[in-house]
Symmetry: C2
Subunit: 271 residues, 2 copies
């Protein structure tokens, strides 16, 4: 018999999304946030940060693939990769499918990584790869480093609290400095339906520093509205250089994900 | 101050979606189903049938436009249109934007139309158009008629209860008989993520009767998973004949909506 045990996310103060829970596997107040892992009936295991869905086993592939592959297939030769956030390991897993040389992952909260390794092994398996190096520090400081990258993927929480600086003008400027020639940065930018201010802010910021800026969309059912946005930017033109088919991405998705519904185009035009 | 008054849909037995309610405007047990209208904080007014979201003022345009326009822009000269269901008037509103001659709307439940006219006037305004005729009868019987159509749009509830026959093999056969040469049928086919059996059944059924069958997707945030599917079918090839830009649809959306994520392609291949 199923027990009437639910976790609900308040997607905003007037909308909530609930999933039936089999068991509450883990809960901790880290230095930065509250981390919970539930085993749920429909979505499998889920990681919740400060009450918000970060990852569910059932639909994580849609988000991880769409943040990673459009940039990875668009770079002529992606060897050195920087992941900002991404403490569950999912984006690293996707990036490591390519013959990359180094992947630096800057996750401020090492408790997120520990929880993922323990409870979400299919996502966190990437941490065992010798090409991956983890830095537990503030990404805003890390991007002052001397290193440089072909691709930077910003897989952070939303631009509130400690992650706000990762969507600032200064952060985009610093990121550009550590991109090699022809380098590409891609960031998640929230739901244009539930929170249009987020994508507007990221789009405006990237537009101020890069010649080519391409917003795109994918479905992510466990995220607010199911409609999620990302933005890719570079100082070169962005064109596809190779094929990669995953569980979400394929040739048709690369061709179509940049075609935005009219109301999303309007959100970006009305800056 | 906002009152803690919520309506929740059980999207399945393990997932629910809740919206904060300002007021419960209307409730009736019709001959066919329970009809509720709520005024909500985030989605505006919403129509609920048997506990499921049918329409919200905030995102109805995404569904109505995507069920209507891909077929309407793909027919060489759409003059006579049949809408199956569609009692809120939204699909009729979209279709009447074209220079059509007649629109027949077959809604079994006249109480749905009355509720929409009273509480959702921006959606139901189409009922005042003299080109529109309403038939309150079972669409499965209506499709035996002598009339014939350029475009048939199936805007029904999901294939359970009295709407089940609208996704049957016999219904698709009958629909084909009343399509004129070059005619196009389009149907909604549920969420491939939450309920893949629905799109599989509709796809299999249409494939059995039509030469060209094209599934496509759009976002609809208030529907389960936010990922919604539709299928267009015809005995001719389907090509775009004109432009129409709405709040969701535009040139890029027509080009891209048929490109399915890899897991949706797999759902349709594994018949």
């Amino acid at each position: 018999m199923k027990v009437d045990f639910w976790f609900s996310e308040n997607q905003n103060e007037d909308v909530k999304f609930g999933v039936r829970v089999k068991s509450h596997l883990f809960s901790i107040e880290s230095k930065y946030q509250k981390i919970d892992i539930f085993d749920t009936e429909f979505f499998g295991r889920v990681m919740i940060l400060d009450g918000c869905f970060m990852i569910t086993e059932k639909d994580e592939f849609m988000y991880q693939e769409m943040l990673s592959h459009p940039a990875m297939v668009s770079h002529p030769d992606p060897k050195d990769i920087l992941i900002i956030g991404g403490g569950d390991g999912g984006v690293a897993r996707e990036v490591l499918r390519y013959p990359v040389k180094t992947v630096d992952l800057v996750e401020i909260d090492e408790d997120v990584i520990t929880a993922a390794k323990t409870y979400l092994p299919s996502i966190a398996a990437s941490f065992a790869d010798s090409r991956l190096k983890v830095y537990n520090m503030d990404a805003f400081e890390f991007v002052d480093s001397e290193r440089s990258y072909d691709v930077i993927l910003v897989d952070s929480t939303d631009p509130i609290g400690f992650a706000a600086s990762l969507f600032s003008d200064v952060f985009y400027m610093k990121s550009k400095k550590i991109l090699k020639k022809g380098g590409i940065i891609a960031t998640q930018s929230g739901s244009p339906f539930m929170n249009p201010e987020f994508i507007k802010k990221a789009y405006r910021g990237l537009n101020g520093h890069f010649k080519t800026v391409k917003p795109y969309l994918s479905f992510v059912p466990s995220y607010p509205s199911g409609m999620w946005s990302y933005i890719m930017a570079s100082d070169e033109s962005i064109e596809k250089h190779r094929d990669f088919t995953g569980r979400y991405v394929n040739e048709g998705i690369y061709r179509s994900c940049f075609n935005l519904p009219e109301f999303v185009k309007k959100v970006l035009e009305n800056q």
